[in-house]
Symmetry: C2
Subunit: 497 residues, 2 copies
Amino acid sequence: MAVPHTGSEAMTPDAKRSLVAALQAFLPANAVLHEDEDLRPYECDGLSAYRRLPLIVVLPSTVDQVARVLTLCRQHEVPVVARGAGTGLSGGALPLSNGVLLSLAKFRRILAIDPVNRMARVEPGVRNLAISEAAGAYGLYYAPDPSSQIACSIGGNVAENAGGVHCLKYGLTVHNVLALKFLTIDGDLVTVGSQGLDGPGYDLLALLTGSEGMLGVIVEVTVKLLPRPERAQVALGAFASVEDAGEAVAAIIASGFIPGGLEMMDGLAIRAAEDYLHAGYPVDAAAILLCELDGTSEEVADGVARVREIMERARATEVRTSRNETERLAFWAGRKAAFPAVGRLSPDYYCMDGTIPRKHLARVLTRISALSREYGLPVANVFHAGDGNLHPLILYDANKPGDLERTEELGGRILEECIAVGGTITGEHGVGVEKIGQMCLQFSPAELNQFHAVKAAFDSQGLLNPGKAVPTLVRCAELGAMHVHQGALPFPELERF
Amino acid sequence: MAVPHTGSEAMTPDAKRSLVAALQAFLPANAVLHEDEDLRPYECDGLSAYRRLPLIVVLPSTVDQVARVLTLCRQHEVPVVARGAGTGLSGGALPLSNGVLLSLAKFRRILAIDPVNRMARVEPGVRNLAISEAAGAYGLYYAPDPSSQIACSIGGNVAENAGGVHCLKYGLTVHNVLALKFLTIDGDLVTVGSQGLDGPGYDLLALLTGSEGMLGVIVEVTVKLLPRPERAQVALGAFASVEDAGEAVAAIIASGFIPGGLEMMDGLAIRAAEDYLHAGYPVDAAAILLCELDGTSEEVADGVARVREIMERARATEVRTSRNETERLAFWAGRKAAFPAVGRLSPDYYCMDGTIPRKHLARVLTRISALSREYGLPVANVFHAGDGNLHPLILYDANKPGDLERTEELGGRILEECIAVGGTITGEHGVGVEKIGQMCLQFSPAELNQFHAVKAAFDSQGLLNPGKAVPTLVRCAELGAMHVHQGALPFPELERF
């Protein structure tokens, strides 16, 4: 895919040598990588369709070193891309050929677990799951659970405002982070947030969360911990149509209680998962719902009974409930492995991340089917139904001429459908380089200008992760992209809901 | 109290006349107030110790009119202070003698209630309680419930990020707002947020929430609605010491479930409330806790039994539980009327709003008692114990020479204690003019500079509500205020928790 233009010029070999020397003055030799073979592992993140070798990779291990890297880059006017574990799916950590890639991989210490106030203070390179493992000794855990939680880092989670299966009940990263320390491009250390529920001053904590490394470099994260629920149980409902499953989703939410997770898989995804894992999923179903309830034993028993009743009323052809922890994990296994399972069906797949108001689930899924037929590209749907966060997986073959371009176009059309029903182009994966074109559709020029003004308030020279997340108006004009958020909507009545 | 310096000059009578004429060109005559007797009702908000007549008050009734007011003020370089219902407790809507007070009082329409997606779209002048009343037809309500909810407006709630008794479980305003439309000082309409859980771009929704009218003027708010819980019940525990009550708070939270509300009142507040309302509170207690559980009948019954057990283990001298809705409301009546009840004990009182980590409750309350004795000013404590949001009420007599100054000093000392244990100077009332001096203690120069840079990204001329919320570094230097957030802390071990 075409790498977006970043507006900066290539660096001369001499200038590169002098920058390397300046970095080596305060970093150990093995913490400054500048040879092609050493740079190769950093050429992409989880969005591997986009690749580019960075100029230099640095691996500092102290906050002071990070501050010196930033001050040096600012002096040399060299752009900086911060990287956590590199599992991001929108290319937020894609390097720049004229820029420094700043890896936070060495920041792996858990600094404090405070069971009384239910908080953990950690370095940004700590893995998401490692926090829950450390907190487990106190019966606590960190709620947001992106599929990549074994590998992804908390700093990256904050940068992309990561979600997960349980964010319907427990919120996204932004709802589970209490405080951050970050370095500005000038090397100043700024603390935002507090141990309290609210703080004075502008909410820079929320502003930094999801800002994709464009406002500052996060060097410490304080997260909220939750007590492990006493019990969790999953109800699996099979449906003969996506519409019936969509109706069940609406009815479950409308009934007033909030499941720990509420996930949908369509027929293609169900069969792929079943072929791969033999989880026992009903392969004839057009859609399945996985609805997890957690809480006290009484709450869960009551909730599962109500969910079963609602699913049956929505014409479920079958409802199963997990009878023990092994069965519960087996129910989830197929869902958790759905992406690789679908991946086996086709040489390549492209994972989308649009969000729509729940009530439009059936309408948008029907539209996606029609688009899939129009483009001749199969689309599997595996997604967070409870919060309307779709993950259509478009199956394609990068070696087939034109397939990739058609995939990108189909992806764009799907996101436009999301915008048209009042949704957004990203739910939890961020914009990165992947969806920067669609930002021109989602936002008006006044809104994009406001984003740029905020960016300039942190980084007036535009050195932090340039070319990501927020397109320039020039780029929108080049794309011929038209803002559809307000004005001529395909469903104009939706603006008034 | 001394009104903070705003850095702007007085307007000549001629300039005022010309501005009035320009406003009258597009606003009806009764929507432009400029005579002293008409301006009087707007001289203060709920923080009535600070008063100042505005230059002009405007009462537009359409978004277009607001945009024209802003563009005009920008042309004339006249500062603008937006005002909702004027119930704020930190002086956020205190007018400027050289500025326009922009009242949103005429924006009182509920634009849409969407029961399926559980959202309400309303104008900013709609009263907090009116949203719940309108949503009640669908069994839904809007969760944040500041004490002033009968009168306060949703626009003001967003501007101050208001809380309430139930924010422990349901969050502050920022956690319950889905989207905003606001006008920039240039008159551009910007939409932030969406109907989805997350959105692309920087989180300007959270940034605007709690920004105290300094970044833009909110003209539309979309809020989340929740289903009314099936049942709610309150447990009232009496304790012989504040330490025991603090221990019960910690144990309730540690037990893993989150009460709908968890409030504490100390002896002085209990007796004041009882004298006023005869709610049947135990007047000999040193502290009472009110713990509300809500949810399904089973959950609530289970929760109340567990809370009773925890309170008894923390040496409660008595635990009562509400047997029906009338009793539940009676239990709350004393708490809800605590401020006016305490107000009867003394000619004046000053309500503080610090936040501390829950585990330091007993320590900070003991310290407040000692300070109260030191200053010879009684302090009653009525507060959101569950989220560590203190509301010490300092009793004083404004007619007694020196009392007001000593009250301000004592208030400052209490907030410094909050900062020292890792807390903040405001929980839900905002900074306004009231706590602007303490901002110098809470934040470092680098942090304050970052706030100013963000402000400039929205309002480069500083025309929106100048002099509030974020102090200039010059003002901090004048105050001789020292940053205590990092560095020489009274309890240095707390930085590491």
